[in-house]
C-alpha cells in the first residue's frame, strides 16, 4: 500500500501469467491522488497459425536490475505516482500474455508517454530472448532483434537534446 504522493513500484520477472485488473488494483488501491492509469499488455501471436509457442529465456538478476533502471529513468522524467512492470519467461502460447506495463499519474500525458518509453526501452535493454516453436513441431529459431525497436528507443534520447534553432 502507498501513501498519497509516494511513488510505488512493482517489478516482477515470473513464469506465471498475470491478471491485468489485479495489477492495476495493486497500484491504485487505497489511493485517491491518481488521475490516469495507462496499461500496455504484450501477447504472444500465432503468426497466422504457424507458431505453436514462444520460449522466453532471460538473464536472472540482470533482467530485474535492468527493468528497475529503466523504471527509475521514467520516474525521473515524468511525474509518475506508480509504475508496474511484469515480464514473463518460459514457454508462452499464442493468446497468452508476455509483458505488462502500468503507469499511473495525476494526468494522462505523463502516463501515456512513460508507458511508451518503458516499452521502447524494455525491448532494447531488458535481457530477454525469444525462441520460436512452430506448429509443425520444428524450431523456428531465435527471433532477431528489429532495427525499428532500436530507433524507437533512440528517439527518447534525441528528444532530450535541446534544439539548436
Amino acid at each position: 500500500m502507498s501513501e498519497a504522493g509516494h511513488i510505488s513500484r512493482h517489478i516482477s520477472v515470473q513464469a506465471s501469467p498475470f491478471d491485468l485488473g489485479a495489477e492495476v488494483g495493486r497500484l491504485t488501491q487505497s489511493r485517491t491522488d491518481i488521475g490516469a492509469v495507462v496499461t500496455f499488455t504484450g501477447l504472444c501471436r500465432d503468426e497466422a497459425g504457424q507458431l505453436s509457442a514462444l520460449e522466453l529465456e532471460h538473464y536472472p538478476g540482470m533482467a530485474e536490475g535492468e527493468m528497475s533502471r529503466v523504471v527509475a529513468q521514467a520516474e525521473q522524467r515524468w511525474p509518475l505516482q506508480a509504475v508496474s512492470v511484469i515480464h514473463r519467461y518460459g514457454v508462452i502460447r499464442p493468446g497468452e500474455v508476455i509483458v505488462l506495463v502500468v503507469t499511473a499519474s495525476a494526468h494522462r500525458v505523463a502516463a501515456f508517454e512513460a508507458a511508451t518509453f518503458l516499452m521502447d526501452y524494455l525491448k532494447t535493454r531488458a535481457p530477454f530472448w525469444k525462441k520460436e516453436h512452430l506448429a509443425d513441431g520444428s524450431s523456428g529459431g531465435w527471433v532477431e532483434a528489429k532495427a525499428h525497436d532500436d530507433l524507437a528507443a533512440e528517439r527518447w534520447s534525441a528528444a532530450q537534446v535541446p534544439s539548436v534553432d
Binding site: 529465456e57 538473464y59 515480464h87 524494455l122 535481457p127 530472448w129 525469444k130 527471433v143
Partner: protein
C-alpha cells in the same frame, strides 16, 4: 578466475551456459575477451563469428566492447535482446 555466462544462441553455439576461466594478462577488455574466446575452439569461433552482433554485460550491467574487465566477477555474452 572469472565466471562467463552465455544466453540464447550464444549459449547454444558455445555448448554451455557458463564456465570459469583464467584470463590471460593480454585480455583487458570485452573486445579482447571475445577475440580470445573465438580463437580458443570451434564452438566459440562460431559463437563469436560476428563479434559486432554479440552484446556483453559485466556484473549484470550492459557494457561496450571497449569496457575494461578489471574487477569483473561475472561476464555475460548474449545476442541483441528480443523481449517485450
Amino acid at each position: 578466475m572469472v565466471k562467463l555466462v552465455y544466453f540464447a544462441w550464444v549459449r547454444e553455439r558455445m555448448g554451455m551456459a557458463e564456465e570459469m576461466v583464467e584470463l590471460p594478462p593480454s585480455v583487458l577488455t570485452i573486445a579482447d575477451l571475445a577475440l580470445w574466446l573465438a580463437g580458443r575452439d570451434e564452438a566459440a569461433a562460431l559463437a563469436f563469428a560476428n563479434p559486432d552482433v554479440v552484446r556483453a554485460a559485466i556484473d549484470k550491467h550492459h557494457v561496450s566492447p571497449q569496457t575494461p574487465l578489471k574487477g569483473a566477477r561475472e561476464i555475460a555474452f548474449f545476442p541483441p535482446m528480443t523481449g517485450g
